[in-house]
């Protein structure tokens, strides 16, 4: 059985006679088959899941969006499913509640993503600068909200936004400031705050880990060149962790587009959040409140296309920015 190992087989076949070469070749083939079989066994469970909870559902969503249940005249008789082409898409894209949901999420992304990426990166750079005291305690404190489930983060902040319960509002009241955190113009920033609170520390740790991997010689060299700590942080360290920045921005974007949990919970207490506040809430409302599956499916596909297009845009844009930067060096 020693010839089954490919390295042995190549070594042996080099000096061997024609017949020996054939044997080695055959056993190499057998080894290859065994490896393929092993790869198959190791990958099958995951790909079964991929098929059942990803590929088929995506296919179903696309399929559903082209069909609709039609009630025959007077509502008697069995429902028929008929092909309606792009009618559901037209209905979704002309529905002002869906468009306003898209607008809300776009605005949410525009506020939230820059705040998150810049805030987390700034904190990581500060922690990496070496002047912060109790650094590991600070990291632990910043990371703590990651252990708080999204719905509970929303609950905590909902109470902190509620007059009568919130010590924040009471404190502000003593200073003669009254803010309705769940008002028309404040509800979106309030949601941004919840998301920021939940994820800031986690992303900071991601950036910090990447900064730790920057070779010390690079930083020492920039110090020798006369760069101060701020210049070193912005012009030397930040470009070196670009891949982490892209990754964090991507994941933040993908999660932000799914905005659901926080507004869903806040809607229990705020009339400013209707049941179609974000596209995800629109999908939920269409599918499970109005039972309009084709409309929900069409909205899902629109959201999916937006997600893919924007993620693709982020990767393209950052890779172009990266190559431009390399060219100027």
């Amino acid at each position: 059985m020693t010839t089954t190992a490919p390295s042995h087989a190549t070594a042996a076949s080099r000096g061997a006679a024609r017949s020996g070469r054939a044997v080695a070749h055959g056993s190499r083939k057998a080894a290859r088959r065994r490896q393929l079989a092993a790869a198959g066994v190791l990958m099958t469970p995951f790909f079964l899941l991929l098929l059942t909870v990803f590929l088929i559902p995506v296919g179903t969503a696309v399929g559903l969006s082209f069909f609709s249940d039609d009630q025959p005249g007077l509502g008697f008789g069995p429902e028929r499913t008929v092909f309606v082409g792009l009618r559901s898409y037209a209905a979704v894209l002309t529905d002002p509640t869906f468009l306003s949901g898209l607008g809300t999420v776009a605005l949410y992304c525009l506020i939230y993503i820059p705040l998150m990426v810049i805030g987390a990166l700034a904190l990581a750079l500060l922690l990496d600068s070496g002047v912060v005291r109790l650094r590991s305690w600070a990291q632990l404190g910043l990371f703590l909200p990651h252990a708080v489930p999204g719905i509970i983060a929303a609950l905590i902040w909902l109470y902190l936004y509620t007059p009568g319960i919130s010590p924040v509002i009471e404190l502000l009241g003593k200073a003669d400031i009254t803010i309705d955190f769940l008002g028309v113009h404040t509800v979106l920033p309030s949601i941004v705050n919840i998301a920021l609170w939940s994820n800031l520390g986690y992303n900071m740790v991601v950036f910090y880990a990447a900064l730790q991997a920057v070779p010390r010689e690079v930083i020492e060299a920039s110090v020798v060149d006369g760069a101060g700590p701020v210049r070193t942080a912005l012009l030397v360290k930040t470009p070196l962790v670009r891949s982490s920045i892209v990754m964090v921005a991507m994941f933040t974007l993908i999660w932000a587009l799914q905005l659901f949990t926080e507004p869903m919970l806040l809607s229990q207490s705020s009339p400013m959040i209707n049941s179609r506040f974000s596209p995800s809430m629109y999908i939920y409302d269409a599918a499970f409140t109005r039972n309009n599956y084709s409309l929900a499916a069409a909205a899902s596909v629109v959201l999916l296309i937006c997600t893919i297009a924007l993620s693709y845009g982020v990767t393209r844009w950052t890779s172009r920015a990266g190559s431009a930067e390399e060219a100027t060096r």
């Binding site: 089954t4 190992a5 042995h8 393929l36 092993a38 066994v41 190791l42 990958m43 995951f46 899941l49 991929l50 909870v53 990803f54 088929i56 559902p57 995506v58 179903t60 969503a61 559903l64 922690l127 002047v131 600070a138 404190g141 910043l142 703590l144 708080v148 489930p149 999204g150 719905i151 983060a153 609950l155 905590i156 109470y159 902190l160 009568g164 319960i165 010590p167 609170w197 740790v205 991601v206 950036f207 880990a209 990447a210 991997a213 006369g226 962790v241 659901f260 919970l265 229990q268 596209p279 995800s280 939920y284 599918a287 499970f288 599956y293 899902s300 959201l303 999916l304 997600t307 893919i308």
Partner: protein, 287 residues
Amino acid sequence: MSASHTTALRPRLLGRSTVNAVVALSVLYTLLPVLWLVLAAAKNRDALFGSDLLSLGDFSFVQNLRDLFAMDGGLYGRWYVNSLLYAVVGAAVGALVSVACGYAFDKYRFRHKEKLFGLVLAAVMVPQTVLALPLYLMASGAGLVNTFWAVFIPVLFNPFGVYLGRIFSQGYVPDEVLEAARVDGAGELTTYLRVSLRMLGPGLVTVFLFQLTAIWNNFFLPMVMLSDQELYPVSLGLYQWNSSATVSPEYYPVVIMGSLLAIVPLILAFALLQRFWRSGLTAGSVK
């Protein structure tokens, strides 16, 4: 660092204290809401609405705890067990499945490998809300709606775990180990189970922890799939109790106490498994 010592000393000291102040403020921002939760959980309802949190007069932590587990016939205990089952068992099985797949992506050559891997990465991008309706319809077709499995099976799927598994396999399992095992005549799967899996241990724990957090956080899927309160995870149960609280305020203290208890498992997991997930974060970001 030693250049122009005396002139730069004052601005540097100033910078140093500014940096520390900014970090301290950020830590207060992240810690205070959790501290509020702890204090509020110890208050009875009147004190909660009096929002006088620091007075220790009406301390009723134990009473709130008792109320929590007595409310609605002890539903909370039920939810807690459910959440633990979904999250711990789901994350354990899910991590094993994903890491095995990632390992195969790293160690074996086969046709269309990178295309398949691209498909896995694409799956990371797809929003859960897009999959919810078709999953619901499929589960309803299979008679699984409103059962344990309707939530348990979809949460096993973790494409990001496959990505991490591939990176960990590159980093922790040298190809020479596999060669040596082949020379010794060991089967591929035996090698995986006896040798590679042990080397992948820290990576496996990282993927487990990521998935544990995700499943413990999961809210949308149970909301779509479950109508039987007995099957709810904590997240969905608290959501429902909070909506009851808007009409009957006796739910407020139990929601707050329930939220506090729901944080405990993840904090424990992160504290106990700290050295693993730190390595995992690095692996995920550097590549």
